[in-house]
Symmetry: C2
Subunit: 318 residues, 2 copies
């Protein structure tokens, strides 16, 4: 590729866009409100503004195309269905709407898949043609990369690993099922589990670690705080994060058995967790996966952080 590609990470609040070079480096960046509550036309307008902004910053250079990572189910590399937190949006051919205004190659893809593609091309997955990408953040999602390409399943929605149940009699998940791994380790559920553990703990442990960091305000507990307390040696923080990693490992073992994949790349907000969490995930996965898989199991930390969306989106049109 000569010139650059444009990658866009479309979120419910913000459009993050960047021009990306052939090595996956971000050259220029722009940010706009996504106006998600104002309907599809407003969002499309903001996207076009962002794209034109970037093109304007590269006079005389060739833009190879525009990749857009979007929430919701995306089909045919273009149509976005029911993105959560976007108003008046059922089914919009986003690719087509952009192409009408900007005569470039436009590819639209689910945001989790985009991040997976970014890691596949320029991040932790670049030496692994097949891997499972996990987004561990507010929810637990993912993407499946086979032969360096996205595995879509029948309808474009493959990779919903957060809704693999690890206990058929477990807690109710917001999806309607029970015991989904997301209902143990998704940010909100994980924070709640930690609050419960603190409430149950002795008065002694209640004065330590996590509570000091939030000045006693239980509502401020979130994975970032738990991670910091663990790194400072708080035993309860370490225990709850190890347990969360273990639950994720149990889910991964089941998935890796079904898919015969051995490499897992973990991204999303919670993936900044300390190394002992990765050790717990790896140990639990190895303990539970079928014997022929055990030795090959590797649980890797994503490398592109919050740039994975932009870089992944751009890489689709390079």
């Amino acid at each position: 590729m000569n010139g650059y590609a444009i990658g866009i990470d479309l979120g419910g609040t913000t459009i993050k866009a960047g021009s990306v070079d052939a090595e996956g480096g971000i050259m220029k960046r722009v940010t706009h409100d996504s106006l998600a509550m104002s309907g599809p036309k407003a969002v499309i307008g903001q996207l076009i503004t962002a794209i034109n902004d970037l093109i304007g910053q590269h006079p005389g250079e060739t833009c190879s195309g525009v990749g857009i990572g979007s929430p919701g189910v995306v089909t045919g590399g273009s149509v976005v269905k029911n993105p959560p937190n976007f108003a008046h949006w059922e089914r919009v051919d986003l690719g087509d709407a952009i192409r009408r205004e900007i005569p470039l190659k436009v590819e639209v893809e689910n945001d989790a898949n985009m991040a997976a593609v970014g890691e596949a091309k320029f991040g932790a997955g670049r030496e692994h043609p097949n891997f499972l990408f996990v987004i561990w953040g507010t929810g637990v999602g993912g993407g499946i990369i086979i032969d360096r390409k996205i595995f879509y399943g029948s309808h474009g929605g493959a990779g919903e690993i957060g809704h693999l149940s690890i206990d058929m009699n477990g807690p109710q998940c917001n999806c309607g099922s029970r015991g989904c791994v997301e209902s143990y380790i998704g940010q909100r559920y994980f924070s709640e589990r930690t609050r419960t553990a603190l409430a149950r703990a002795s008065a002694d442990s209640r004065t330590s670690g996590i509570l000091k960091l939030v000045n006693g305000d239980m509502q401020k507990i979130e994975p970032k705080i738990i991670a910091r307390a663990a790194e400072e040696g708080d035993p309860l923080a370490k225990a709850v994060f190890t347990e969360a990693g273990t639950f994720l490992g149990y889910a991964l073992a089941s998935i890796l058995n079904v898919l015969d994949i051995r490499i897992v790349v973990i991204g999303g907000g919670v993936s900044a967790a300390p190394q002992f969490v990765y050790d717990a995930i790896t140990a639990a996965t190895r303990e539970r996966v079928l014997k022929p898989h055990k030795d090959g199991i590797r649980i890797l930390r994503a490398e592109l952080g919050n740039k994975a969306g932009i870089i992944g989106a751009a890489s689709l049109v390079m």
Copy 2:
């Protein structure tokens, strides 16, 4: 295809081989001992005998090739690794060994995948480009069909759905993990669960249904007996089989979420179960799967029965 293709179902006891026409009909059949305990050379000799037998029965007709479904992990369409119940067999290039003696196209594939391919081409999956094939028998295995082709995963072993855990604290499975769906509904485990349920039941139910069919010999209880008792109206038999179907449905919901597949074809010995079992599987899957999938869920009975292996194997070389 003019002429015929040869399909072989290689088992630990018997080699079942057949010539198959372009519509998936079996023309001629031969059966030989597999001599699995006598080592790879003996097995290969028996395979060659079976193939030559069939060729001899079709003088003047063209054989398009030989497909072989084998236990164990199969890689590269040729190499068979560690088939259970075969002595002195670690890694044998079975395809190559056959081709040296018989100058035809030879394709070797895992037996579960072969049965899946048979259903895809000529059975319950023929109108469904994407489906999950489940073998419910002694164990619980399967194959994943995407775009009418086998999905292999990284190392050729994808589809081990029996070792998806439905309860991380569940019973120990022979694979070393806990709560694998096989450890609830695989033939041996399922029979054992039924024996336990009978032992716990009141004296009244202990005199009914299942025990009558086995003349009181608990060791003779197996899924076929439980199915018959259920069909004759025995409430305990109906309850345990409904529970088994429900467990399978819970596992399927998790798998279908990850793969975004909506069609499941169930084969294997236990798949001859009465319709109420399929109803239980369908209800449990629909109850637990993500909302966008619910309406499309279909749980189908395999159509090729014990001929799926031969027909699937032959279809690979048509």
